[in-house]
């Protein structure tokens, strides 16, 4: 098991290095750190002097190593627009995105697992058929359309829920949270529902398909032959086996969910990392862009690694095989 964890971590580090290399190359080619520092009104001579001072005329790999070292210390450059360290800007915006993703993940788990299990056990019921039809259609509708539709329905026509911004937030030691006010929670509804709509069809189908496959296995048949109660067969015997592949997919999808926050935050003017990214593009704020790339890259890698390790613990065949 230990060997397994170590291997995963090494793999994670390699991917992070690649991401940092890509990020740095972008920074190197397109970024303009001089402008970031001192603005636009400098003479060419002053520019050259500053370039030398900052070590910008050093060879590529020297600068790259410096970049990585700085990154590990938490220094990812300065944001041109905000005039603050890039990491600080991201850290300020991160809570918004993270809370959105958490609520979305909750919605996904709470809805897809029961719906998937139910439609696996009773595949011909009208509920299952409706769920399946919805998921087929749901996959086809891009998230921003769902978001817009939801905004129009609930925000404009019915006016039940707010359609932009985070609402009131509470500051907990630097973490701006929308969980603790009624207003904040109301603002979370539409964005998280929109975001979940991307993954919900996929997960319902996945849970259903896995559960159906599990229900056909010999060991489930044996469980019935042993005379166990229905609930035990479904929720203990079948469910745990269904869960394993679902966990892996969930981990991968979590990363994709982050990608889609960019789209969702745009629609809802949600002041999170995704929205910040787009603003950075508009403002040609390269440091912020690269910082975002690195941070998001780190998040993916960490989440994927954790999911793999958790899977290793949950699946006894991996757990024990790893020790042999």
């Amino acid at each position: 098991m230990f060997a397994f964890i170590v291997r995963r971590i090494i793999q994670a580090i390699i991917v992070m290095l690649v991401i940092s290399l890509v990020g740095f190359s972008i920074q190197h080619q397109i970024g303009d750190p001089i402008r970031d520092l001192v603005g636009e009104r400098v003479t060419p001579a002053e520019r050259e002097a500053i370039r030398d001072q900052l070590g910008l005329n050093d060879p590529f790999y020297v600068q790259y190593v410096r970049f990585v070292k700085n990154a590990c210390k938490g220094d990812l450059g300065l944001s041109f627009f905000y005039k603050k360290p890039a990491l600080e800007v991201i850290a300020a915006k991160a809570p918004a995105t993270i809370e959105l993703v958490i609520v979305t993940a909750l919605i996904l788990i709470v809805i897809s697992i029961p719906a998937g299990i139910y439609s696996a056990i009773y595949p011909k019921s009208w509920f299952s058929r409706i769920v399946m039809a919805f998921s087929t259609i749901g996959v086809a509708i891009p998230v921003f359309l769902t978001a817009i539709a939801l905004i129009y329905l609930f925000g404009v026509e019915l006016n039940w829920l707010p359609s932009y911004g985070r609402g009131e937030t509470v500051n907990l030691w630097g973490w701006e949270s929308g969980f603790f006010t009624w207003d904040g929670l109301k603002h979370l509804v539409l964005p998280s529902v929109s975001l979940s709509s991307i993954m919900l069809p996929l997960f319902i189908r996945l849970v259903r398909a896995e559960m159906m496959e599990v229900l056909e296995t010999e060991y489930i048949k044996f469980a019935w032959a042993k005379g166990l109660h229905r609930e035990r067969v479904w929720y203990i015997h079948a469910f745990k086996n269904t869960l394993l592949p679902v966990i892996t997919v969930f981990g991968v999808q979590l990363g994709i969910l982050f990608a889609f926050t960019i789209l969702t935050e745009t629609v809802f003017q949600w002041q999170g990392m995704g929205f910040m990214f787009l603003e950075a593009v508009e403002r040609s704020d390269t440091s912020l862009l690269v910082a975002y790339l690195v941070v998001v890259g780190v998040i993916f890698v960490v989440v994927n690694t954790i999911v793999d390790i958790v899977y290793g613990f949950v699946n006894p065949m991996v757990r024990i095989a790893g020790t042999k």
Binding site: I141, P142, L145, V156, A259, I262, F277
Partner: protein, 305 residues
Amino acid sequence: MKSWNRFKNSYLFYSFKRDPVAIFSFSALSVLVIISILAPVVAPYNTYDMATIDIMDAETPPAWMEGGSESFILGTDIQGRDLLSTMIYGLRVSLLIGVGAVLLQAVVGILVGLLSGYLGGKLDAFLMRIADIQFSIPYLIVAIFTSAIFKLAFGVGRYAELAVPLLIIIIGMSEWPKYARTVRASVLGEKNKEYVEAARVIGINRWQIMYRHVLPNTLTPVLVISTIQVAEAVMSEAALSFLGLGMPITKPSLGALIRAGFEYIFSGSWWITFFPGVLLAFLILVILLLGDWLRDVFNPKLYKG
């Protein structure tokens, strides 16, 4: 003629005829494709021609609503362009980029998969490592990032000019690993079959074996994933355009139209977003349905041949 007869008698056509969903989605898709190809003929107006647009016509509602006009059936957008025509041209752009991107993905992916699978060794390890690394980052992020970088590098004007080929490259390169992996898996399976051995023994050189013998047998899974990839490519392009990283408003795709119309739903001009949105969703839906059917037809487990 012989091929047509063979096709008519094949299992593929047989199960197609019996499946209403397949028939519906294929017909609908064909209609959409034909409309987009014949756009200059079919669309009431040529929306790229600045001369035909009058800003005074902007935000006209659809013909059946109050304030609407017969000359603009689905209303106009914020610049005064006829929405229906703009949608048709937008459909054309979306399909062009979608199919173009998939062609690129397929060519690159098949090439890599074929070489990797057949030649094996260090080349295989190297190529697959790259594919794995790219695979571990969600394709949409790759696409969004690449387009952001290009936009910054080229500048807004130049980017808009080169939008179509750039988008094809961006979306194409973000998903090639999928093709590479699929083809490689197929090739690995075929490599050990007897007909390959036989060809080798006869003395046919590697490249010919790869191209004429192995490749045709790996094309079935390629076909199956291709439809789904087209749908994904169309969605990616729409997403990029919606974020402002894709097609510009002067030559909009469906995604760009939705972006443009978005702000206006609050002021009441809902049709600018609604109709392109419905068309986009419908397009993706029929492609996906067709893809689902293809996948079921080619699935050996369900194959009752």
